[in-house]
Each structure stands twice: as C-alpha cells, then as structure tokens.
C-alpha cells in the first residue's frame, strides 16, 4: 500500500511557532522594539487594544502588540485571554467624566460654551502629507505644548440642554448592571449591557454601522454635543472600609451625540442622546459607539426598528472581534469529515436528479 496517512502534527506546530518567532523579530540587524517604545509611540494602538481587549494596562497592551506583530485584533485577544485569569477584587464606582482633567473637549452644537473649546492633541486639522522628517532616525523631540487647559469646570453640553428640558433625562438605574464578562448576553438587552458590549466592540464594525445610520439605514440625525478626552479618577469601595478610595487615574474618551426625537403621545419632542465611552484616546470609536447606542434605543423610544444598526441581536452578537475573528478563522481548521458527507450527499442528490431526468 503506497498511501501513508499524514503524521507529525506535533512537529509541524513546533516548527511553525519557531518560524513565527523569527518573522516577528524581523531583521536581527535592527534593534528590537521595546515595550516602552510601543507604549509611548504607538499610544493609539495601545488604547485600541486596551478597549477591545477590555483590560486597562498600557504595558500589557504594548506587550500584546509586540507579540502579535502589530495585529491589533490578535493583540486584543491576547489581552482578553490574560484578563480572564485575573482574580476580581472589586468593581469600580461609576467614573465621573464631569470631573475629567480635560486635554481635549469640543462641541459641534455651540460656537462657544463655558470652559471653551479645547482642541488638544488631534489629527483633525493636520494635512495628511507624509512627514518625511519622521523617517529620520534621530528625530528631535517636539517642544512641549504651550498651555494646557486649566482646571476650569467644564459643564457637559447635554447638561446645558437638559436645563431647558430639551434633553431627555437619564435616570441612574437602581439595579446592579450585568457583567458581560461573567454572564452571556441575554435579550432583550438593556442599555447597560448594550453599552458594555459596544465598549468592547470592534472599532471597524461599529464605525461601519454608525456610518450606515447616517446613510439612511436607521433614523439618525446626529450632532456631536460634545467629545471630551482626559484623565478621570477610578475609585472603589472596599467592603472592609465602607467608603471610596482612589486606586488610580485612567485616560478615557467620551462622546455624547445629540439626536432628534419626534416625541410620542405622552412625551413632547425633545433631544435624546447616544453615548460612547472608551479607554484611552479613541474618538472615532467613541463617536461610532454613540451613533450605534442611539440606534439601538429605537425600540425603547417607540421608533420603528428596521435597520441593521437598530437590531440588538445583530449588533451585539457580531461586534466582538475576538469572537468574530475566531469563528471566521476557524474555517481554516480541517473540515474534511463534513465535506466528505457533503460529497456523498451531493453525489446521491445528483444521482437521483439524473435518474429522474432520464425517466
């Protein structure tokens, strides 16, 4: 018998891992990237990996990016797999983004407002011309920013609208929000669960969905009420103390979208909000999240929900890129047993069809 079944899965895996390690390192004549360099100089990649990896640790996110060769979905997956093994000591209190130490804060709905517009470190008005000076090896450090925003209290735009009764109020729920990392999604999904899911969701997927609501797949008329980015304090209440203590400070980006609401029999027309919040500086993600959050509120606001972005199951089941990449990529695992049964089945169906045609 000439045929010998394929063997050696174990050796093949080891050889593949070794090859991967060499590819990751690249040309050994060049210095290796340090985790610190990634953390400092690829900061927005670090932010995205922390958000989608659902774990705030800049150093570990940078390490994941290095290990994943810059594949950010793979890096988010590495971080997720690590976070699941961590003990849970406490749940933080809700972040007070109203007390944010602001580095950037803009509103598209008011020309000026208390606290002012703070452009901060943004790509928005850069000209997208490749800067060949950056290609030089010994880049001189740029000068420090001239002035940072002073700790002036900056009221939220949505608060300004609410004073006039134009913005639908948001009541803090009494119930403990569900925890997506401990319990599977359940439908209908209330807003805390939806927001959790969107906060971990894939930026690209949410971007496309948010975009679709602007193009008519959904009933969106959004304005950026406010985007703010800066540092907020994280607090927990240890049960043995019974009062809140600070455990650190993190950077977050918050977006509040203002949307029309036609009103109903019981409510006069007013504005409603879509909300986005992400780790780090991730404006595109926060804005897309706010658009999708508002779209997903269609059901509770009594609007017709027909667009993809308005379907809870569609959005929430498909926005997690670690789940999505796993299931898409698993198609490269062997499926020859099932394919074999498909082969036999299609031969059987064709035989039946040909026999009937001949009769």
């Amino acid at each position: 018998m000439a045929y010998v079944a394929v063997k050696g899965g174990e050796r093949a895996i080891e050889a593949a891992h070794a090859w991967l390690a060499r590819e990751r390192r690249g040309d050994p004549g060049l210095p290796a990237l340090t985790v610190g360099q990634i953390e400092q100089q690829l900061g927005l990649a670090v932010d995205r990996v922390m958000a989608e990896g659902a774990c705030h640790d800049r150093g570990l996110a940078a390490l994941a990016i290095k290990q994943a060769r810059g594949d950010l979905i793979e890096a988010a997956f590495l971080l997720r797999a690590y976070r699941t093994t961590l003990p849970r000591f406490a749940a933080s209190l809700p972040l007070d983004t109203g007390a944010m130490r602001i580095r950037r804060r803009i509103s598209a709905t008011y020309k000026d407002l208390p606290g002012g517009q703070v452009l901060g470190p943004t790509f928005d008005y850069t000209h997208r011309l490749l800067d060949f000076a950056l290609a030089a090896e010994d880049e001189a450090p740029p000068p420090p920013p001239e002035a940072s925003a002073e700790a002036e209290r900056m009221p939220r735009v949505t608060g300004i609208l609410a004073q006039e009764g134009l913005m639908q109020g948001e009541v803090a729920g009494e119930a403990e929000p569900p925890d997506l990392t401990r319990e599977p999604l359940a439908f209908p999904a209330e807003r805390p669960l939806r927001l959790q899911s969107l906060a971990r969701g894939d930026e690209g997927f949410l971007l496309a969905l948010g975009y679709s609501t602007q193009r008519g797949y959904g009933n969106a008329h959004p304005f950026v009420g406010e985007i703010r980015m800066g540092e907020v304090t994280v607090e927990i209440v240890p049960p043995e103390l019974g009062f809140a203590i600070e455990i650190g400070e993190i950077t977050v980006t918050e977006c509040q979208m203002v949307n029309q609401f036609a009103g109903s029999k019981t409510e006069p027309p007013q504005f409603t909000r879509g909300y986005g919040l992400t780790f780090g500086h991730a404006e595109r993600k926060a804005m897309a999240m706010a658009l999708v959050d508002r779209a997903l509120r269609a059901r509770e606001l009594g609007e017709e929900a027909t667009a993809p972005a308005e379907s809870e199951e569609f959005v929430l089941y498909h926005c997690d890129n670690v789940e999505a990449t796993g299931f898409v990529e698993h198609l490269k695992l062997p499926h020859y047993v099932d394919f074999q049964s498909e082969l036999e089945k299609i031969r059987q169906l064709r035989a039946t069809a040909l026999r009937e045609a001949a009769e």
């Binding site: 796993g326 074999q340 036999e344």
Partner: protein, 283 residues
C-alpha cells in the same frame, strides 16, 4: 498549581469551574436543553474548541485519561494542540486509544469504538442552535424551544424531500432528545447520529463563542428527525478502507493524483490502527 506553574489546575479558576459545573448539572437534568453560561476567553481562539475545552477543564481530574480527536484523528494539528494544552495545565495522562480514555474531547466525529459507562464524550460545538439557519434571532428560537414548536425544521426537511427526493443535510443533522428538545449534534456527519442514541457514555456539548452548554445523559433517546415514508439514512462512502478494509467505519476520501485517482481511509485513526494491528497479529 498544575504542571504549568502560575495557572490553576485545568487552567480555569475555581469560580469559573463552579459556574460551568452548575451549568453541566442542569444540562444533564434537562437533556438537550441549551444552558447559557459565562464562557470565558481561553488561550485558544473561538472556533478552535473553546467550549469543549472549558467543559473538559471543569470536569477533568488527576485520575482521568484524556483523548482528543479532530475529524476522528488524534494526530490532526488542533487535536495535538488541545491535548498538549491539557497535558500542560492539568498534567493528566493522555491516550489515543478510545477504550482507554475516560474523557474524549471531539470535533466533528464520534469514535467508531463503542463507548462504555464511565466515559465522557465532550463535543466542541460551533453553533448550538439547531434552528439558526431557519431563524437567526436567538430570542425567537428560545421561544420555539419553550413551546417545543419545531414546525420550521419539519417544513425544511419536507421541502428537501419534495425537491431532491432526500433530506439534503449531510452533517449537523438535527436530533430530538428524549422526545422533547430539538438539538444540534454539532457538525458530526449524519453517519454518526445513531451512535448518540442510548449511548452508555455521558455526552456533554460545549459552545464557547455562543456560550451554551448542553448534554445527553447515558441511555437517552436521540432520534434523527425523519418521516415515516422517508426514514433517516446515514450516508457513508460505498467503499472499504484502503488501510484496514473496514466497510462499517466512516471514510475520508483521499485524492492520490491529479488524474481522478482516489482512495478511502478510516477517519477514526485509532479504530483503523487497531484493526491493522489485529490483522498483522493474525497473519
């Protein structure tokens, strides 16, 4: 701590294991019903068997002997990878012999060797919902299971027969468990479905990405859906294994040249090797 220091025995932390164990007990008590569970991210990707791995990790102990197969074979890369994972995080003995294993984790096959009491078969499940191609909304399919309303599936099978003269499902062929719940057998070929029926072993199903666990207790009725005038017929290639000659086992088709040459060999490598060894011994 296990063989791989820094991680708990079986990789999962005890809270997660308890949560999965509770789900498993309810799954056994309600045969065929999908129990949602708080599936965790595992160090292997979704789609690679994270559900099966979590079930195995919650069940396995130092006295167990683990066999892992993918496509019926012990030496496929993913089977090797999962077996190595458990050898590392649980330090358990592994085996390729179906008869020697206390836990068998599988993707896409049921071993040919008849299972016995005391064995646990853990299936890796990509899509636990048998109705998902007919109704993608989970809220809807939950309601259908609650009402045992499986008309949609019967209509689909009936339409297949009207159109093709046969049911056109060749794998992941839906089954009724204990006369109550419609269940996905995972993407095993329909050929394997009859092995689920009144099997002496305990059958556990884990879907990691979809976060569902379900079970078939031993000796439980598992019927492939069919019609009186169109009874269920498991399909296999009409050939014998080129290595061991078996005409009963499920066969893989191997293309041997680019002129249409092909042979058939057992998909279950342990079964095939056992038969070859016995034939050699008899010679």
């Amino acid at each position: 701590m296990s063989a791989a220091t820094g991680y708990n025995f079986g990789y999962l932390d005890e809270d997660t294991k308890r949560m999965i164990r509770r789900a498993l007990l309810k799954a056994v008590a309600i045969p065929g019903h999908q129990v949602p569970f708080g599936s965790r991210e595992m160090p292997l990707p979704y789609g690679w068997g994270t559900g099966g791995i979590q079930v195995t990790a919650s069940v396995i102990g130092p006295a167990d002997r683990l066999k892992v197969i993918d496509q019926g074979a012990d030496d496929t890369t993913n089977a090797v990878s999962i077996r190595r994972f458990f050898a590392r995080v649980a330090g358990v003995e592994t085996t390729e012999r179906t008869a020697e294993a206390s836990i068998i984790q599988t993707r896409h096959r049921i071993p040919e060797t008849t299972l016995r009491e005391g064995q646990i078969l853990v299936y890796q499940v990509p899509m636990p919902e048998p109705l998902f191609r007919l109704e993608p909304r989970v809220a809807e399919t939950k309601r259908m299971h609650a009402l045992a309303d499986y008309g949609l599936m019967h209509v689909k099978l009936y339409e297949d027969i009207a159109r093709h003269g046969h049911v056109a499902i060749s794998y992941n062929y839906p089954v009724m468990v204990n006369g109550r719940y419609l269940m996905s057998p995972s993407p095993i070929p329909a050929f394997d479905n009859p092995k689920m029926h009144r099997n002496p072993a305990l059958q556990l199903f884990g879907a990691g990405r979809e976060k569902r666990i379900y079970a078939v207790p031993p000796y439980t009725e598992v019927r492939s859906l069919d019609f009186e005038d169109h009874p269920f017929e498991p399909v296999r290639a009409r050939a014998g294994c080129a290595l061991c000659g078996s005409r009963e086992s499920y066969l893989d088709e191997v293309v041997t040249d680019d002129a249409g040459g092909r042979i058939f060999v057992c998909s279950d490598t342990d079964y095939c090797q056992g038969r070859q060894a016995r034939q050699e011994a008899a010679e």
